[in-house]
Symmetry: C2
Subunit: 520 residues, 2 copies
């Protein structure tokens, strides 16, 4: 935790830590205002002479690999989240570390899931000092209540790549679970009992970590192709019986919402895109895997079919609905970042219309541009939105850390960002005066679609103009807020402790906001 005397006001007016865990920080300066200097992180030069001449890097076990990789106190250990709630590796790594008596490890996952509740005893006994990465469920609560001995840092997918590339986070040992690998370390997520589609979230880890371990339950003869992870970055390979619980890796159950309220949001969103000319021949879109987002895609499909047009590409985790659009020729390419269901995995292995992306290509803010800005419209979510269009995705109104940032911050650079949300959830208004945690600056958020009206950011005069006469219920965000307050009453503000338990990074590595300790 960072104490209240270690805070400074950033350009968004938020109090953020000057140092986090003793490391100096740059407070958020505004969108595009912080221009980095310096050089990328440079891993040490290796020599072929120090690796097996026959290319076979397989060792006995993960424990063996961790010992050979020099696991010791204070190291940074990274994992990826392509196995989602079916991940077995992260828990195993820290079981081994605990068994070996190693302490004070920083865990740097690309995301954590409820299955990682297993690690709480290790956070308590000092095996793990803290987590830098998204935290859900039990881990989120543990952090929120100030029980983690050091301060957490949350980053977007692109921000994680940026942090590794820039050397903000130097990974000592990366453990990369893969559905398929060869003994040299080439690996992919496509084939085998633990298939998850992609391995892009482990890309930065493979490129920049000092030691890289690839673990698979499907070891094939060289060459394992395609090599989403290149064996030339890998130090050790390990074969295990099972790297993930396949039934939890891809749910296979992602379905379009059946809720009439949500369907209404989706229909209004699609209609908005139609009347404002966003849906046009050759356009592009990104929508997530939530029930509402999937429904937006279905309405897009109807509109495209009616107009006889197609999209140049869709970004997002593949799922059966997107795959259908690809197979029907309604989208030319799916630019995949991850894979959300079994149909997505199947199609990715078969259809060259799938293009694999990574946080480097799609999201890295400290690259020579990225793909996020090439997307015409991104449909995103939020837990809270304020009257300046600022949005929150990590905490709920009770202040508990319950979500990661994912690619959300990165997608704000799409040409148009639309957030369809209900006006209130459980009688708690979504549109409020000031978000609990600032994750995205309002200047990047263009449209809020609610069941009782659509608010367009005043900065987007073009959209306001285009929506005129459309028959859509265009309102100001103040009007929407007033309506919610009329129905729900103005909610009481949550009370927080003074200490900062987690910092939220902006895409450029600056600190955009703090998460305060929640009083139990």
């Amino acid at each position: 935790m960072e104490k209240s005397d270690n805070l400074i006001k950033n350009a968004a007016g938020r109090m953020v830590p000057k140092t986090i865990n003793g490391v100096e920080q740059v407070p958020y300066m505004g969108v595009g205002k912080f221009i980095p200097t310096g050089k990328k992180h440079a891993p040490s030069i290796k020599s072929y002479a120090n690796y097996p001449a026959d290319g076979n890097k397989q060792v006995e076990s993960l424990k063996d690999a961790l010992i050979k990789a020099g696991l010791k106190d204070g190291m940074t250990i990274s994992t990826h989240h392509h196995f989602r709630n079916g991940d077995l590796l992260a828990n195993l790594i820290f079981d081994i570390a605990h068994e070996l008596g190693v302490k004070n490890l920083r865990w740097f996952p690309s995301a954590s899931f409820p299955c990682h509740e297993h690690l709480i005893p290790y956070l308590e006994d000092g095996t793990i000092s803290h987590i830098e990465g998204s935290m859900n469920g039990a881990l989120g609560k543990f952090c929120s209540y100030g029980k983690m001995s050091r301060t957490a840092i949350l980053r977007s997918h692109g921000g994680r790549y940026q942090a590794v590339q820039d050397g903000d986070v130097q990974i000592d040992i990366a453990v990369i679970g893969a559905a398929c690998a060869d003994s040299f370390g080439n690996a992919n997520g496509l084939y085998g009992q633990s298939a998850s589609g992609l391995l892009g979230f482990a890309l930065a880890d493979s490129e920049y970590a000092e030691k890289v371990i690839v673990v698979t339950d499907n070891m094939v003869p060289f060459p394992c192709v395609p090599w989403q992870i290149q064996g030339n970055h890998v130090d050790f390979t390990v074969k295990m019986d099972k790297v993930g619980l396949s039934e939890k890796i891809v749910s296979g159950t992602t379905e379009i919402t059946k809720s009439p309220d949500r369907l209404l949001l989706a229909e209004m969103t699609a209609k908005f895109c139609e009347v404002t000319g966003i849906i046009r021949d050759g356009f592009s879109f990104q929508s997530g895997a939530g029930g509402t987002s999937l429904a937006v895609g279905e309405y897009f499909k109807q509109i495209m079919k009616a107009k006889g047009i197609k999209a140049r590409f869709a970004r997002g985790g593949s799922n059966k609905y997107l795959v259908q659009m690809l197979e029907e020729g309604l989208v030319e390419y799916i630019l995949d970042g991850q894979t959300f269901d079994l149909e997505g995995v199947r199609s990715m292995a078969e259809n060259p219309g799938h293009v694999w992306t990574s946080p480097f290509t799609s999201y890295n803010y400290h690259g020579k541009g990225n793909f996020a800005s090439l997307v015409d419209v991104a449909i995103l979510g939020a837990t809270e939105i304020d009257i300046n269009f600022n949005a929150n995705v990590v905490t709920h109104s009770d202040g508990l850390l319950l979500h990661g940032i994912g690619g959300w911050q990165n997608c704000l650079f799409s040409k148009t960002v639309i957030i369809p949300v209900p006006l209130f959830r459980d009688r708690i208004p979504i549109i409020i005066d000031e978000v609990t945690t600032l994750c995205g600056p309002g200047e990047l958020i263009d449209v809020i679609v609610t069941e009782r009206g659509i608010a367009i950011n005043p900065l987007r005069k073009d959209l306001i103009e285009a929506a005129k006469g459309s028959g859509l219920p265009i309102k100001t965000i103040q009007e929407l807020k007033a309506e919610a307050d009329r129905i729900c009453g103005v909610p009481q503000k949550q009370k927080f402790g003074e200490e900062v338990v987690a910092a939220i990074k902006w895409v450029d590595g600056t600190v955009i906001d703090s998460v305060r300790r929640v009083l139990e």
Copy 2:
């Protein structure tokens, strides 16, 4: 040129420059003996904020791009050789530099070709200070006669990647010609009038150069897929009418030798591989595009068919013969480094059995291993071989630099290296007491196949044993040399000047030999 008082004897007994163009060098220390320390080269951190928000990096012309990239005196400019003798870009770059009055540029091509003779006036007037890369024909002669104002450096394909990765060569501006690209800079060599197959030789340049320019004559809407070059590394894109003379990019005329002598060499080589058990189910091989190499592949094919076995993979530039083997199921994968004919280009665009490799995956000695060592047998060439199995590939017996190293040094790490050569060419023996230029240490060269006998390196007791009773004409290398001398007479040694005009790097960046000035 380096003077004779700037030389030191290396571990191979060769006199090599202590400094080259003022930069300190490490003399060759033996295979696997030089272990690098330090960090990889770290390019500067960029910001999305400094690139076009819509991702469109296209500028008016190559001249415009070079000016925007900050072209100035003393810079290092890199190009790739995928257009081979049909390249138009390198000449154009230096035409522009000359027009702008820029001087003292270091040209760092992945290889140069006869078409680049056009650059000799720029070497003479100081626009270009020197070339670091292979030199053929007119450029090779220009360098050999000591006319280049600074010292040349020749590297293998893997050595070039190593030099860029390690920061031995820091590229200011990389110009990457591509058959197909989008305005963001994603590019491939597969589609369009200038299709050449791959762009792997430009990979290091794209990753490490400070500024990267992609030039194409086939600009497509984003996304250009596959992206062999990632737009996230690219600063500027340029559309031109023609980036290469397509008829010279892939010759379309690579044919198996019809010479009975060469066919004999090929047959003996294949037979040797058969009797020694190298050809077995699941084996792998690499052979080049020369007439003899192609013939070896054809004999391999006959043997594999007769035995009912297949190869796991073949490495090499794709050509119609290799493509046939892929299509007939005799090889599971072709690991392509480049593409040698139109059939190769066609097949690569269609057949997922082609796996794209790069000097990083295949050859980089300063990585965590590389693919070269996973190949069971590599069939290579040489201009000279000495009685210690040392070999030369860059100079002829007259001392003139006439070839680049290509991937040759890197392929020496295959499990078995076989060099089929005629015992003499134009009555000049190939097997001699000491090679003019040492490119590959004899300890890595296993078998010399000549029309009058096969010499096995005494280090390979296993092969000597396996070849016993095979009926093949196994001889010592001394016997082969004596036979050549008997026929041709012992050739007179070429006389050289004292000065070093070019240095030959080993795969680890150390200096293995020098090329002396040739007296005109």
